[in-house]
């Protein structure tokens, strides 16, 4: 599911070797792998988190989204108002989109004016972006 998610944004190999632990994906370096082999208990989390499978959906990590933003052309830039709406889980209207790239139904990464990745969505017929996932998820998880 991880690879399928990545290919929606880029054909570049951005992740390399990864490990699946239960339903989560990680990049684990050699020094961490050595400790894991000594402790002999399955960890809940290790190294760089790439994302998690939730049912049939893949939810990317912040690291993966930021990595995708550096290589993918499938992204839009939103203004401050659009940024706030999006991280509150709302769609971004056309008037809040400063730079637009993509066609109807395309998945796009959403960046703010600083070039920071806020999440991703889908372009709609009204040239707005339907919200799918945003970094505000960190707060919603805590509820």
């Amino acid at each position: 599911m991880l690879k399928k998610f990545i290919t929606q944004f880029t054909s570049e190999e951005i992740v390399g070797d990864f490990t699946k632990v239960n339903n989560e994906y990680f990049v684990i370096n050699e020094s961490l792998k050595q400790i894991i082999s000594q402790i002999k208990t399955k960890p809940s989390f290790a190294g760089i988190h790439l994302g998690i499978e939730k049912g049939k959906t893949f939810v990317p990590s912040l690291y993966l989204l930021q990595k995708l933003c550096t290589v993918s052309n499938k992204k839009i830039i939103t203004d401050k108002k659009g940024e706030w709406m999006f991280i509150c889980g709302k769609n971004i209207f056309q008037k809040s989109i400063i730079k637009f790239a993509g066609n109807n139904e395309d998945l796009v990464l959403v960046q703010n004016e600083f070039g920071e990745c806020l999440g991703y969505g889908k372009i709609t017929t009204e040239k707005s972006v339907q919200h799918i996932f945003d970094i505000g998820d960190f707060l919603r998880r805590e509820r």
């Binding site: 370096n29 020094s31 961490l32 400790i35 894991i36 000594q38 402790i39 002999k40 208990t41 960890p43 809940s44 989390f45 290790a46 190294g47 760089i48 988190h49 990590s61 912040l62 690291y63 940024e83 991280i87 703010n112 920071e116 806020l118 970094i135 505000g136 960190f138 707060l139 998880r141 805590e142």
Partner: protein, 294 residues
Amino acid sequence: MDNKQFFINRYKQLGSGFAEIQLKKSLRVNTLKITHEKFVERMTSIGVKLAKINFLQDGYYAESKFSLGAITEYLLGYYYLQEAAAQLPAQILESQANETVLDMCASPGGKTTQLAQLMHNKGTIVAVEQKQHRLEALKSNVERMGAENIIIYRTDVKNLQKSNTKFDKILLDAPCSGNYVTDKSWFQKRDITGIQKSADIQKQLLKTAINLLKTNGILVYSTCSLEPEENELNIQWLLNNFKVELQNTQLKVGDEGLTNVFGRKLSNEIKKCKRFWPHKTSTEGFFIVKVKKC
């Protein structure tokens, strides 16, 4: 005598006054993601007033008209909302890039992610949390803060003794009875029996820490409690039962540890501990000690 007066009398017997304080909001800049300069510029531009905390490497007091826990900069992991005294244990542990470090009671991850930052995401941090609901907060914060050298285990930390792994450094920020600054109902909730139970649990954790530490390894033990049963008396117990030496924390903030606790004389070494009376340090109540295993 009511409960509050009982504890205030204890603090007086320990040589301290008492005053309610209003804790200033503080945070730690995450140098894994942003420099101090860029952080100050960015936060100032959105109307946040920052003042560097002089005894902390990466700590600032912060004032704003809006919540600092819900903005883009927070969600991107540019900072962690962390009380000032709570930033000291990881700082004085001085963990190095080539070391293996254990955070025994890691959740929700403030000190764990601080360790990762201080180690520049090198070396290995093993973070332990026993409870599932607290584990999710820990994983979320590790991800948000961009820490890449952490392994998280959901287990009782004493289970780590079953493997042969020993650690260069250990952080034990122990579960404790808390303090009246961060818990407004603290005086109503607490009693000596509960504090003693807490101290007994801490002793077991200290014993596990010493077992998991390499020879010459360093342990930093901390609590956010002002009660000597959880602090100086536990450290005296440690000195009496294990081959350890207390180290100088080099901190210019906080009082020396108490060597006379309700008439009981303790080792002079206990002065190397640091105790934070809220009305003196403007922090939450706190206690910290650096221990070397011999």
